[in-house]
Symmetry: C2
Subunit: 205 residues, 2 copies
Amino acid sequence: MPSAVIEPVARLIEAFSRLPGIGPKTAQRLTYHLLRAPDTEARTLAAALVAVRDEVVFCTICFNISDAPNCPICRDGSRDARRLCVVEEPLDVLAIERTGEWRGRYHVLNGAISPMDGIGPERLRIAELLERAVTAQVDGEPLEEVILATNPSLEGDVTAAYITERLEGRVGIVTRLARGLPVGGDLEYADEITLIRAFQGRRAV
Amino acid sequence: MPSAVIEPVARLIEAFSRLPGIGPKTAQRLTYHLLRAPDTEARTLAAALVAVRDEVVFCTICFNISDAPNCPICRDGSRDARRLCVVEEPLDVLAIERTGEWRGRYHVLNGAISPMDGIGPERLRIAELLERAVTAQVDGEPLEEVILATNPSLEGDVTAAYITERLEGRVGIVTRLARGLPVGGDLEYADEITLIRAFQGRRAV
């Protein structure tokens, strides 16, 4: 950093650069923007950052992010508690909620099994998922369906396989989301594996 | 925003989205990253944002950003006070300092004349630049050189022309940075105007 960069500016550039996808150039641009923008812009962002850490907790039932011990979805009595959709991250919950298709509940694993990164099942909320399945059985009836909506990646598949094995016989059915051609995509640009999955999953019209 | 997004999270996404070049998707990704990252990451960024607004001022001489009434460059007695490089933004000072080529001082206009955006000369630090030129003359000798290093854009050119007219006869020479082919660029991809300027500015080898 040239010596012309004064200390507080260098510190903010450095803090922005630590964010994923923000390189040093972008960090510099954001910093200089905030220096010229109205004072409230930087302060509003600072307050929002502190608030997110002070006020956001993890739901004690589904481990989604929440502003209370139980998240809005777990608190919502109209959501089907006998159907769980298991996802890796809170952002996945958002993506699914945006579709308006799912009226069941969620379980957020907080990642996927990845031996390469030293992430074993014990690092994820899998024990809590099995516990939820068991608790539901104690109530009388097992969970009707558990959708393993982990990512369509090696880690997501390994995680789903691991959970499937442990849930066997404890819940009604375990499902995974369909693989196939993305809507609006172009067949000629689909990768081989997606195309193979699309063939394997073909359905009568 | 789906109702599953809790209030403090929505506020942080919103605050990030206001930054230039950060769309709603990126804002969401940054927010969820900070939710999972160690607590210090969000708090360090928040503190840096507040500090930059609390501690950074504008140099009373050159209007570059500074941590004191006079910036490190204006305080540096080894920098040639009789040569000024006039730029639009503090980021331009950084870019020039990085080259190590310039040993004179700076004057930061804080933008460029842009009638389309309602920015006239009175919104920029042009009066202060003329004042600096006059003050230097009162000291005995006029400024030796004023480089108008505004951007190679319509606004930059208009600004440079406006200042040139007002500086006439008050300083040694007024110059502009060379236009031509960017180093490492490919002639066949150069736009017409750059190529015309490169021809006009050709030099004997």
